[in-house]
C-alpha cells in the first residue's frame, strides 16, 4: 500500500513538477530588483552583473544554468528547502549567514555601506538619537542598524531598498543605509533631493554565491572559476562594465 501510494504520488507529481529530471540544471536564485547586480530588463528577462557572471561561470564549468526570480526575504529558506541550488543576489558573506548556508569565494569585494539623507537635513553621526533609520530587510545594513543604532532610534525595514528610498524622499525616514555600489544612480535620478552623509561602513566579506552546506562540489566549482576569472582579469572587466563606481579586485 505504501509503495502504491508512493508510485501514485510520484506519477502525479511528475505531471507538473521538475523534480528528479531537472537536477542537472543548476537553478540560480536572484531578486531581479537590485540593479546593477540583478534586475529585470526591458525585455522582461533577468539581467545585470550577476546574470552575466553566472552565465559565464556556467559556460566555463559546462553546467546548464537557469535564473529564478524570487523574493529577497525568503531566499535562504527556499535554498535550504531545495527550490534552487545557488543564490546570486548581491548577498554579502557574513558570519550570521555562514551559520546556515555556505558561500563561494567573493565575486564582488566588500562594498562600504553608506548613509543617505535628504538635502538640507543634517545629523550628528557620532551621536544619533531619536532619528528614523531605514534599510532593506535581512541585509547587512539592516543587521548593522539593528545591532548598533536601534537603541534611542527607530529602525524601519523594507522588502526592497526602493521602499526605504521612497520613504526617505517622502519624509517618513531621516536616514537610509544602503550598499555603496549603487547609490550613485539613485542620487542622480532623484535630482539632488538626496545626498550622502556620515561615515562609510565596511560590512561583510564581499558578495558571494550562496549554496547549501552539503553542496561542496558545486561550491568548489564556482570558487575555482571565480578564482580563474580574478586571475585572467575577466571578473574586473565585468565589474567595470556594470558599476558606475566599481570596486575592483
Amino acid at each position: 500500500m505504501k509503495r502504491l501510494l508512493f508510485a501514485a504520488a510520484t506519477l502525479s507529481m511528475a505531471a507538473f513538477t521538475g523534480s528528479a529530471s531537472a537536477q542537472q540544471t543548476v537553478r540560480i536564485a536572484t531578486e531581479g530588483a537590485y540593479a546593477p547586480y540583478n534586475f529585470i530588463n526591458e525585455a522582461g528577462q533577468p539581467a545585470g552583473f550577476e546574470i552575466d557572471l553566472g552565465n559565464e561561470i556556467c559556460l566555463r564549468a559546462e553546467l546548464a544554468c537557469e535564473f529564478v526570480i524570487t523574493a529577497w526575504d525568503s531566499m535562504i529558506p527556499n535554498l535550504l528547502a531545495g527550490n534552487y541550488d545557488l543564490i546570486m543576489a548581491g548577498m554579502s558573506i557574513t558570519e550570521e549567514r555562514l551559520q546556515t548556508i555556505d558561500f563561494t569565494d567573493d565575486y564582488y569585494p566588500p562594498d562600504p555601506a553608506v548613509f543617505v539623507i535628504r538635502t538640507g537635513t543634517a545629523f550628528d553621526f557620532d551621536a544619533l538619537a531619536g532619528v528614523r533609520l531605514g534599510a532593506q530587510t535581512a541585509t547587512i545594513q539592516a543587521g548593522y542598524l539593528q545591532d548598533t543604532l536601534a537603541t534611542g532610534n527607530t529602525v524601519v525595514l523594507f522588502d526592497t531598498f526602493e521602499g526605504a528610498v521612497n520613504d526617505l524622499l517622502a519624509g517618513n525616514l531621516d536616514i537610509v543605509m544602503i550598499d555603496g555600489g549603487f547609490v550613485a544612480p539613485i542620487i542622480e535620478a532623484t535630482g539632488g533631493a538626496l545626498v550622502l552623509a556620515g561615515p562609510e561602513v565596511t560590512l561583510g566579506g564581499g558578495v558571494g554565491a550562496g549554496v547549501r552546506k552539503e553542496d561542496t562540489e558545486l561550491r568548489d566549482t564556482f570558487t575555482r572559476i571565480i578564482a580563474e576569472m580574478k586571475a585572467d582579469g575577466s571578473l574586473n572587466a565585468l565589474i567595470a562594465e556594470w558599476f558606475d563606481d566599481p570596486m575592483l579586485f
Partner: protein, 278 residues
Amino acid sequence: MPDWLANVVGPDATFWLAYLTNGAHQAFYASFGYTLAAAVFGGMFAILFGLGGAALRRSRFLPVRAVGAGYALIVRGVPDVLFLLFFPLAFEQAVEWVIAQGVCTPENAGTGAWPPCPDANIFFSTGGYLAIACVALGIVYGAFASSAIHGALDSVPKGQVDAARAFGMSERQIFWRIRIRQMWIFALPGLSNVWMLLVKATSLLSLLNIPDIVNWAGRLGAPNYFPRAGLVHPDWRWKYYLALVVFYLVLTWASERFFRWLKRKAGHGLIADDAVAA
C-alpha cells in the same frame, strides 16, 4: 512600430507605445492569463468541492454529515490569505513525506531539518503552484458553494419531487434528474456571489511566488534609478495598481452581467421568474 504609425501619432505617443509594449510589459500582459486561469479553474474546483460538501451534508450517516458541516464551518472561518499560504506548504510537505517513505534511508539523510533527504525534495514550477493555488481556491470557495448548493437542493419545489415519485422514479433518479437539475437555478444567486469573491481572491497568487499581475505591477511600478534597466522613473506603483483596479472592476461587472443573463436563461420555462428572484 511601423514608421507610418509613428508619424501619425507623434514622438510622445510613439515613446509611450514603445514603453508599454516592451518585453517586460508584454510579460505583465501575459500574466493576466494566470489570474484568469486561477479564476476559471478555481471556480471549477469550487463547484466540485461545493457539490461534494453538499453531498456530505445530506448523507444519512451522522459522521459523514459532520465532516460536511465541519468543512464548511472551518474553511469559511479561515481568512483566504492564510489558507492560500497554509495549503500549498502543507501539501508540498505531505507529498515530500510520502516520497521520503519510499526513497530515504539513514545513509542518504539530509543535513537540514526538512526534507528528510535531498532525494525526497520536490520543486514546484510556476505551473505547479498555479495548479495548487486553483485547488486551494476551490477548497475555500467550495465551502461557500456547498452552503449555496445545500440550500438550493432544499429549495426545489416539493411538488416536483412528489411528481417524480408518482412517475415511479427511484430516489437516485429523483436526485440526479429533478433535484440536481433544478437546484442550479436556486443556487445561481449564491454561486454568483461566490464567483465574485473568488475573482477578487485571485489577486493573492503572488503570495505563492507566481509572477501574476500584482507581482508585475509592483515590479514595473517600482522606481528605477538605473538607466540600463530601462526607463528611469519615480514610484509609479499607484498607476499600475490603478490599472489592476480597473481590470477587476471590468471583470466583476462583466461577471454580473453574465450571471444575470444566465439566471434569466436557466429559469426560463422551468419556474416563474418571481420564484427565482425570491
